[in-house]
């Protein structure tokens, strides 16, 4: 008999992982929550051995025809290829895209493949990594610092580095380092146009989103100018200011101009930026007129405007990032967002307050984010209901894979499915990233897409599992059903829903055949494939229950 509500351990696990499995709940019950948290907060640098092997074994097919004309020169390719771009350097990635004498040496399939490989590795890690908290946070950061592969090929060549060297490397680290890494990443430099910013009229796109989306947040935006200070004493400045205005954005855009990527730009008759595909600070692109940002005078940081040598102009941009990343409003914005992601749309303020305090106390720590996570995860509230967060379509598929013991097989079918909801990394076009309000994901279209994804994912080959081997051996419909509901949901579903599933299973010839062991005297009349298909249908239908939709 299943319990009538989720266990405290299951509630906590579902909040900070891609889906609690029975083995996860059992582990927490055995070693204790605090020990589980500590283990999760101290993962090895790379993947655990099983996940590493799955990524090493992964093959994605690539097929294109040969070409030998003015458009390009390449041989035909048709192979199952490993995920080779994941470990590449900036130079190697740039080489995939670079033109030689305006003649392409590789077709666009090779470029698109970079996105496919990073996405495939992300799916595998999210579903199978033992270090689920890290996966949860990498997913959070990738969506917080959203970039879309559709923006340009320069964003695409930056994706392996973005995932590996920015998000994974800093997921539990210092927020300031994370923002600094992000500002220097090829993907973000091109996604928000900062790589193209030039001294004359600097591009404001990155500066604006740095403040509005990445650090201080939309609630801190004051409009065109900062309103006159009406409090007592002088107006607070720097990391304690009341917010940011368009004037701050303008100054930040000047300070951050010159941050670009070396792709062979001709600077003068005698100087060219050697095409390495790497971040570079180019002084001639730097606007020298940056002034007051958040009440701090940028003009006195770095070189004087009339100095010939402008190489230290990069210090102005670094100062902007430092103030923004360390700002008090940034602490409440980011911690609030993390706690909402974990707990639901009306997160407990006590947990946010404790997390903000830890965040601010640890601004100099290289483990700042880890300390904040420890505070949140060890709060009393983490194991307490209610369970109100709606799983997004992507989370739901990964939870479905985890709880059914399916292996994620990255195929185009899976990408196609996610494109419908746009709910997978690098698929959201705009810099705000995915809405985190439950209601948003409950649209008619969103629900239908999720159901159909579950109903087809196993047969389409996006998930690999033999459910005849995974299901318990029994001759009771109820026992079969209770076992699957127990694994996937962990407690009783509605009586009406249970009755409908029971009727479906009892009237299914495939499931009846599965439940009735074949003996020597009564040979099987229903094929094992039919049995398998009907078991797939059963678990997919369980995943459409509201009890599986909330975590």
């Amino acid at each position: 008999m299943l319990p009538d509500k989720p266990s405290p351990e299951r509630i906590a696990l579902n909040r900070v992982t891609f889906g609690a499995r029975d083995v996860d709940v059992a582990k927490v019950q055995s070693i204790g929550w605090a020990a589980w948290v500590e283990d999760q907060l101290n993962p090895p640098q790379g993947d655990d051995p099983i996940t590493a092997q799955m990524i090493a074994d992964a093959r994605l097919r690539i097929t294109y025809g040969e070409r030998n004309d003015s458009q390009g020169i390449w041989p035909a390719v048709d192979e199952d290829r490993p995920l080779l771009t994941l470990g590449m350097t900036a130079e190697e990635l740039y080489g995939i895209f670079d033109d030689v004498n305006r003649q392409r040496i590789l077709p666009s399939n090779e470029l698109n493949r970079i996105t496919e490989e990073v996405t495939a590795a992300t799916w595998i890690r999210n579903a199978h990594s033992s270090y689920q908290l890290r996966e949860f946070m990498v997913d959070f950061w990738l969506r917080h610092f959203n970039v879309a592969s559709s923006k340009s090929q320069y964003v695409v060549i930056g994706l392996p580095l973005y995932d590996r060297d920015v998000m994974r490397a800093n997921a539990f680290g210092s927020f300031q380092s994370l923002v600094e890494g992000d500002a220097r990443s090829i993907a973000m430099l091109y996604y928000l146009d900062n790589a193209l910013s030039r001294s004359g009229t600097p591009n404001e796109n990155y500066a604006r989103e740095l403040l509005e989306l990445h650090t201080m947040g939309q609630p801190a935006y004051l409009g065109v100018t900062t309103p006159p200070w009406t409090g007592t004493g002088t107006a607070p400045v720097g990391t304690q200011s009341v917010g940011f205005s368009d004037q701050d954005i303008l100054q930040a855009s000047r300070a951050l101009s010159g941050w670009t990527v070396a792709v062979g730009q001709r600077i003068s008759n005698t100087r060219t930026l050697t095409a390495t595909g790497k971040f570079v600070y180019e002084p001639t692109y730097h606007n020298r007129n940056a002034g007051m940002f958040q009440g701090v005078n940028l003009a006195v940081i770095g070189p004087a405007a009339n100095a010939e040598n402008q190489t230290s102009g990069i210090l102005q941009g670094e100062k902007v990032i430092e103030i923004a990343a360390r700002h008090e409003l940034t602490a409440s914005f980011i911690v609030g967002k993390i706690v909402k992601r974990m707990f639901g749309d009306t997160p407990p303020q006590t947990v946010i307050d404790a997390g903000v305090k830890t965040w601010l106390d640890n601004r100099d720590s290289p483990q700042q984010i880890k300390e904040v996570l420890r505070t949140i995860l060890l709060s009393d509230e983490i194991m307490q209901g209610p369970v109100t967060k709606v799983r997004r379509p992507y989370e739901k598929v990964i939870a479905f894979a985890r709880t059914t013991h399916s292996k994620v097989l990255p195929t185009r079918l899976m990408s196609t499915a996610f494109i419908t909801t746009r709910d997978a990394v690098f698929l959201w076009g705009t810099p705000d990233g995915w809405p985190d309000d439950s209601e948003y994901w409950l649209s008619t279209n969103g629900l239908l897409t999720q159901w159909n994804l579950a109903l087809t994912a196993i047969s389409n080959g996006a998930l690999s599992v033999v459910l005849r081997n995974e299901s318990i051996q029994t001759n009771s419909v109820s026992a079969l059903l209770d076992d699957w509901i127990g694994r996937m949901i962990g407690y009783q579903i509605s009586a009406a829903g249970y009755a409908a599933l029971r009727t479906m299973a009892a009237s299914s010839t495939g499931i009846t055949a599965y439940l009735t062991p074949v003996s020597a005297t009564t040979p099987a009349t229903v094929s094992t494939q039919t049995q398998e298909n009907e078991l797939r249908r059963l678990v997919a239908l369980i995943s459409t229950a509201p009890e599986f939709a909330y975590r």
Partner: protein
């Protein structure tokens, strides 16, 4: 019978209303049937700041020429702008990629409202989009629901189940607070895999009271209606010149819903990709072309329904007047609106041109001279029979510009308001 004759009267009267609509402020107090929704209203939101100075360019203006040296629309050369007339002594030209829009303008089906938007100092996509969708400016009381939601809730009586549809993967913020709006991104793909056998189990699983259950049930009912409707439609193999892509899918789905007569009253479509901080010439061109060709094709596809449709576009803001060093434009102020429909007084430009001299700009950019809510209010009253406009836009008085024909109903409206 009573009801029928009243409607008949309204229909007869509406011909005369075309003439009176040109005199703003004249209120003909017919007792309009509040449930009489005349048209399907289609709101097309051009997300992320569509550049009105490129879409409808004052191409010969000396300030325009000097502030947009590399990206400007030209009056001469291989691809000149498409002239649409003069406003306050300034000549305007549609972007050269919008030949379908120009044709609709010439057929007097398309009206242009220039320098329209929300007059706010803010230049955040997300803030201004939200304000426009909730329908309140910075200094005004912030509503908890969207303007379209308030409008639909104010239409008396029970609306058909499929009266309000977002042709997107999700509902927009303007429909926030109206729980019966549906999101259908593609009618052809709107079906449960495995059919009724699976749909019925899902229905039983979701018979509870949570918002997930409620939405699930609504989804299943909508799927049944749409699939039944599609089965009864004659297949239409014509392409009509659609360019393909997301907007094409939305508009073709919308055309199917119109043809199957599900009682569609309000439709919402998003078109993204207007945030041209760099390479505007190339990227704006492809967006403008997609918009123009898609609307041209949609107009041809709904040939039998043109008199029952009013489409209006909006965008959160235009772009910075001066181009940046990347041949792009950063976030600016006023945008524009297109109004397309069988009852639109098209072939004209509406609004007031604020000018582009330094002292005419608003924080350095094109000033907003027509509040977007004024345009929407006129359409809601004239084409959708809204009578309580004060509840939709509490701060913007009803002040029709004569963009659409209709019947000026008795309407309660905000009496004060700073909006232009």
């Amino acid at each position: 019978m009573m009801n029928f004759s009243r409607r008949d009267l309204l229909r007869t009267a509406s011909a005369g209303a075309a003439l009176t609509a040109i005199s703003p402020g004249l209120k003909v107090a017919f007792a309009a049937d509040a449930t009489q929704v005349k048209d399907t209203l289609i709101v097309l939101f051009l997300r992320f700041g569509s550049d009105g100075l490129q879409m409808i360019a004052p191409a010969g203006d000396t300030n325009y020429i000097s502030n947009r040296p590399t990206i400007r629309v030209r009056t001469d050369g291989n691809t000149p702008g498409l002239g649409v007339g003069t406003m306050q002594n300034t000549d305007f030209f549609l972007h050269p990629a919008t030949t379908d829009l120009k044709a609709l303008f010439d057929q007097k089906k398309l009206a242009i409202v220039h320098a329209a938007g929300l007059r706010t100092p803010e230049r955040s996509h997300f803030e201004v989009q939200e304000r426009m969708e909730l329908g309140a400016n910075l200094n005004e009381k912030q509503p908890s629901d969207g303007w379209l939601a308030r409008h639909v809730k104010n239409l008396a009586g029970t609306r058909p189940a499929l009266s309000t549809i977002a042709l997107s993967s999700n509902n927009p913020e303007s429909l926030l607070g109206f729980s019966n709006s549906l999101a259908i991104s593609n009618t052809n793909a709107f079906a449960v895999s495995g059919g009724d056998a699976n749909a019925n189990v899902i229905r039983a699983l979701n018979a509870g009271k949570s918002s997930y259950d409620v939405n699930a049930l609504e989804t299943l009912n909508a799927i049944t209606t749409v699939q039944t409707g599609l089965r009864n439609l004659t297949a239409d193999p014509t392409n009509y010149g659609y360019p393909g892509g997301a907007l094409t899918t939305s508009l073709r789905s919308l055309a199917s819903l119109l043809r199957m007569g599900v009682g569609l009253e309000v439709a919402h479509i998003d078109m993204g990709g207007w945030d041209h901080h760099a390479n505007l010439n190339n990227d704006f061109n492809s967006r403008a072309s997609d918009l123009s060709r898609s609307l041209g094709a949609f107009w041809r596809e709904i040939a039998n329904y043109q008199d029952k449709v009013t489409l209006v576009t909006m965008t959160e803001f235009g772009r910075r007047f001066r181009e940046n060093a990347n041949g792009g434009t950063d976030h600016g102020s006023a945008g524009y609106m297109f109004v397309l429909g069988g009852n639109v007084n098209g072939g004209r430009m509406y609004g007031t041109w604020p000018g582009l001299a330094a002292n005419q700009l608003f924080n350095g950019d094109l000033d907003v001279t027509t509040d977007y809510r004024r345009v929407l209010g006129e359409i809601l009253v004239q084409r959708q029979g809204a009578t309580k406009l004060d509840q939709v836009f509490p701060t913007v008085p009803y002040n029709p510009m004569g963009i659409v024909n209709g019947l000026t109903a008795s309407v309660t409206t905000a009496t004060t308001g700073s909006a232009t």
